[in-house]
């Protein structure tokens, strides 16, 4: 997913060691996503009163915590530039800042819409500036604290993950297999799953603590949770920076093994049988089948989709404003469909192989149906909401399924344009 979050900074004299440098199309995709999120935030903000903005920023902080909990390791590891970084032999502190810079795109993706939520006001941009700034400040601290914490936690997880992967740690987990409750991921990724929960819980804790202090009128105290999280993460970053070379190479080595090297464990996940893809047009079935098998081995998308719908139900049970639900669904559908980016990396889509298989148009169709794989679960979940919540009806369900289909088509098109489209121009 590196292409999704191109670096925002400009090198001083020579390019960064990006083997697959961000293309114009991938930058456009990133900007498009940022634009969609910001536009959704602006729609949500509208002429809302300050209190609704405060609530919206808290919900957005929770979404951001979920994003950092899930996306951080996927963005950073394995780092394809590691061989070049070795040739350059970057200092530990530069490895650290380089990885933080790799994550800056994600920070921008959540902080820009947060600022839009706070300040875009159709009833008067200059009204309640102080209150809006305070609400945004709380959100920035929470997001910053969770982001830095998740970064550091994942960056230093390599040693423990490798021990789990090789069966030297986590002995208790083996017993859960007999009860049939193990996760369907390689064993070494289990600590990362726990880290996901940990980071998300941290986000929830910070939001709840900040909200509680605010609601009780303890304005000064409301700054403490977020500021403490940032300070704690900053202190740990400072402590870790001198030995960050070991953390970087060890965590990178682990992810290289478990996701791309000799440790790939297809056997731990039931692969998609060919005949279950009866709903895909015959001409795209073989490529869709191969694509889904690859995607399932790289990304546990099913679990993420399930979690996303759980959050949706919680939002609806809590009677969140329909605009907030709409913004949330936009984000979920955008990210779910953007996952097809994992299919266009150099490993998954080697240029000569891609060129020999089928046309760019066919790849577009293939990836569209790969993305549409989740439309039935989406329909079921949205249907449940419509059934039990009178705020939403069947038109609402149909509308969002249409949005999902459009996103599927668009994301597949962008991914295909960025790979096969580019290749066609290179090898006419």
């Amino acid at each position: 997913m590196h292409w999704l979050f191109p670096l925002l900074s400009t090198p001083t004299h020579l390019p960064d060691p990006l083997r697959h440098a961000s293309s114009t199309s991938s930058r456009a995709a990133y900007l498009l996503l940022l634009g969609v999120l910001s536009y959704a935030a602006a729609l949500l903000a509208g002429d809302s009163p300050v209190q609704e903005r405060v609530v919206a920023l808290r919900i957005w902080s929770l979404v951001a915590a979920g994003l950092f909990a899930v996306a951080t390791p996927n963005l950073l590891y394995p780092n394809r530039d590691a061989p070049v970084l070795q040739l350059l032999n970057r200092r530990p502190s530069r490895l650290l800042t380089g990885q933080l810079r790799d994550l800056s795109g994600l920070f921008a993706l959540v902080l820009v819409p947060a600022a839009v939520l706070a300040y875009v006001d159709l009833s008067g941009a200059g009204q309640h500036l102080g209150s809006k700034t305070v609400a945004l400040g709380h959100a920035v601290l929470i997001i910053g604290g969770v982001g830095l914490d998740s970064f550091l936690y994942y960056a230093t997880l390599g040693r423990r993950s490798q021990a789990w992967q090789e069966g030297r740690a986590g002995g208790w987990y083996d017993a859960t297999g007999e009860a049939g409750i193990q996760f369907s991921v390689p064993r070494g990724l289990v600590p990362a799953l726990f880290a996901t929960v940990r980071c998300f819980l941290l986000g929830i804790g910070l939001v709840v603590a900040t909200a509680t202090a605010t609601e009780r009128g303890l304005d000064a105290l409301a700054w403490v949770p977020g500021a403490a999280a940032v300070a704690w993460a900053g202190l740990r970053l400072f402590r870790a920076h001198a030995a960050f070379d070991r953390h970087f190479y060890q965590t990178n080595a682990f992810y290289g093994e478990v996701l791309g090297g000799g440790g790939v464990q297809a056997r731990e996940r039931e692969p998609v049988p060919f005949d279950t893809l009866y709903w895909v047009p015959a001409r795209w079935q073989p490529a869709a089948w191969a694509s889904l098998r690859q995607l399932d081995r790289v990304l546990s998308l099913g679990r993420l989709v399930a979690v996303a719908h759980l959050v949706l139900w919680v939002l609806c049970i809590q009677a969140a404003p329909p605009d907030a639900v709409a913004g949330y669904l936009l984000l979920v559908f955008a990210l779910q469909n953007a996952a097809c980016a994992a299919l266009v990396t150099g490993d998954a889509a080697p240029p000569p192989f891609q060129l020999s298989l089928q046309s760019a148009f066919d790849w577009w169709g293939t990836r569209t149906f790969v993305n549409l794989r989740w439309i039935a679960p989406h329909a079921a979940s949205l249907g449940l909401v419509a059934l039990f919540d009178s705020t939403y009806g069947w038109t609402w369900v149909a509308l969002w399924l249409g949005v999902d289909a459009l996103f599927a088509l668009a994301a597949a098109g962008i991914a295909t344009f960025a790979t096969e489209g580019r290749l066609r121009s290179l090898y006419p």
């Binding site: 040739l87 069966g167 080595a253 000799g262 440790g263």
Partner: protein
């Protein structure tokens, strides 16, 4: 004087599978070239990945002198030049720019650096296309660039995985001469290659993997 690389009871396994390397103890001395041989899957690349800190051992330690290389990769890599089996080079740089970048990044840029880069690329027969983008190179030209990138910063340890793959006869000879000269100057070289005909006559030691205990 370069130090030795010492492996103490190094085991490497992937997931819970059988170890690829099992309790390997071995010293690679300065001033010697060791050739790694063995069938596919015998652990040659795994051993080179361990020595280049792209993999971490399941058990055991690897020391360069007194330095635990996996605990202090930055300090260790200051002494190392690496040729990986796959190129993995930035497509939007030229070979000359890449070498310049390595020298500057490692604090070894001098007034004569440009001449050194030119001479090294001359030795490896990388022609005038050295100023073209790496993304346009053939596999042989990429391999030459990798070899130059490994050598340009005057390393004390040279780790090479299939350095002769895709090279023409003249460049193969030039590369072998380079490695030989490097070792004669006190360098420590560990080379894995299936193209053993040129190497076997020049290697000081041979480490056989995948045939029971390494010998």
């Amino acid at each position: 004087m370069p130090a030795s690389l010492r492996l103490d009871h190094v085991t490497k396994q992937y997931a819970d599978g059988a170890p690829v390397l099992d309790g390997l103890t071995r010293t690679f001395d300065a001033g010697r070239m060791t050739m790694l041989v063995g069938p596919n899957g015998s652990g040659k690349t795994t051993l080179l990945r361990l020595l280049s800190v792209l993999a971490y051992p399941t058990a055991g330690t690897v020391r360069y002198g007194d330095l635990d290389i996996h605990a202090h990769p930055y300090r260790y890599l200051q002494h190392v030049g690496i040729v990986h089996a796959e190129a993995g080079l930035p497509e939007h740089l030229t070979a000359v720019e890449l070498l310049e970048w390595i020298l500057r990044s490692r604090g070894k840029w001098t007034g004569r650096a440009t001449e050194r880069i030119g001479a090294l690329l001359d030795d490896l027969s990388l022609d005038e296309r050295r100023t073209n983008l790496l993304g346009t190179y053939s596999s042989g030209m990429l391999k030459k660039t990798q070899i130059a990138a490994a050598l340009i910063a005057d390393p004390e340890v040279l780790l090479m995985d299939e350095p002769l793959r895709s090279l023409d006869r003249a460049t193969t000879e030039a590369t072998l001469d380079k490695i030989e000269g490097f070792v004669a100057g006190g360098g420590l070289a560990v080379v894995a290659s299936h193209l053993t005909s040129g190497l076997s006559g020049r290697a000081d030691d041979v480490l056989r993997l995948g045939e029971g205990k390494p010998v």
